[in-house]
């Protein structure tokens, strides 16, 4: 179980809803993943179009909590305005706060992020900040009222897995009671399992499922991977050793020469 702002979820897999071959496959993948939280977004709509409304109806039919994002925002001001629009449309005070700082890597602008988080917390939002693994930034975010941290694994959509395992372990150690969600860069179920094995509380991913040849099967694979990783963390992994140790005792070994 992991708790986000008073809501307890049993599945540590959060799933994005973008880039699937079709809305029907997206819906089936969400069900197969057993995700209890999915991410959604906002974009300009043309007059007379009902595309947004149809998408929203489909999401509501899935009976999951929604976490709207501020994807594409490059300044605190843009992100704050987008968050307010998302709160009105999606009827939730949760916001996945993204303030993008670099066009090639989509790296978070952590300065704008901290600024926007502080404003949004004051405005009554419950902020899920998409950040780096930087400890000082994490401290500022928590000081500003965030109660969840969402460090990246690697740049959005790259599928490279966890670039800085030491950094994530360090976050886990320093903020041992704050829910940590690894967000972005997860490409394989083994990456997601790894995040859970090192003590992260949840994983948020999108492209790895949506762009798989069979998104529904991959969604299920991720569901199983995070469950295995979580169980492994709770079971207490062994410490790696620099020396070999025989698994089978030497005691009682027969002498044949």
């Amino acid at each position: 179980m992991v708790e986000f702002y008073g809501k307890t979820v049993s599945n540590p897999l959060l799933l994005g809803t973008a880039r699937y071959p079709s809305p029907a496959i997206m819906a089936e993948a969400v069900r197969a993943s057993a995700a209890e939280i999915v991410t959604v977004s906002l974009r300009r709509e043309a007059g007379g179009s009902s595309a947004g409304q149809k998408f929203w109806q489909l999401i509501r039919s899935l009976d999951v909590a929604v976490l709207p994002n501020t994807a594409g925002c490059h300044s605190a001001r843009e992100a704050v305005t987008t968050a307010h629009m998302a709160r009105e449309i999606f009827q939730t005070d949760w916001i996945k706060l993204e303030v993008i700082g670099h066009q090639d890597t989509l790296q978070p602008d952590v300065f704008g992020l901290v600024e926007a988080a502080r404003i949004l917390v004051e405005d009554g939002f419950r902020v899920f900040p998409y950040t780096t693994e930087d400890l000082v930034v994490a401290e500022r975010l928590l000081h500003g009222g965030c109660e969840v941290l969402m460090p990246w694994g690697s740049p959005i959509g790259t599928g490279r897995g966890i670039n800085n395992e030491y950094g994530l372990r360090s976050l886990r150690t320093h903020f041992d009671t704050v829910p940590i969600v690894v967000d972005a860069g997860i490409g394989l179920p083994s990456h997601a399992a790894r995040a859970m094995e090192i003590g992260c509380d949840a994983v948020l991913l999108n492209t790895a499922v949506a762009r798989a040849a069979d998104p529904v099967a991959m969604a299920q694979a991720f569901c199983e991977a995070v469950a295995a990783g979580k169980k492994a963390w709770e079971a207490g992994p062994m410490e790696p050793s620099g020396f070999a140790h025989p698994s089978t005792t030497d005691a009682g070994r027969g002498q044949f020469v």
Partner: protein, 65 residues
């Protein structure tokens, strides 16, 4: 008057934001709005006057990661 709606020039009568949305074919219930970069709450649209050159953003739900 000429204003910008979602990046495109439009000729609208106004005078309120709610009027502009109807004139542009939007269903008020399923969109969120911003005027010159600031969020405008649904309940304030009718009372928000639009002026020439204003920039309006109208957004609705879409898939996201």
């Amino acid at each position: 008057m000429r204003i910008i709606v979602n990046g495109e020039e439009k000729d609208v009568d106004g005078p309120g934001l709610g009027d502009v949305l109807r004139q542009c074919g939007y269903d008020n219930e399923h969109v969120a709005t911003a005027l010159n970069g600031e969020f405008v709450h649904r309940h304030l649209r009718e009372d928000t006057r639009i002026r020439p050159g204003d920039r309006i953003e109208v957004v609705s739900p879409i898939a996201g990661g």
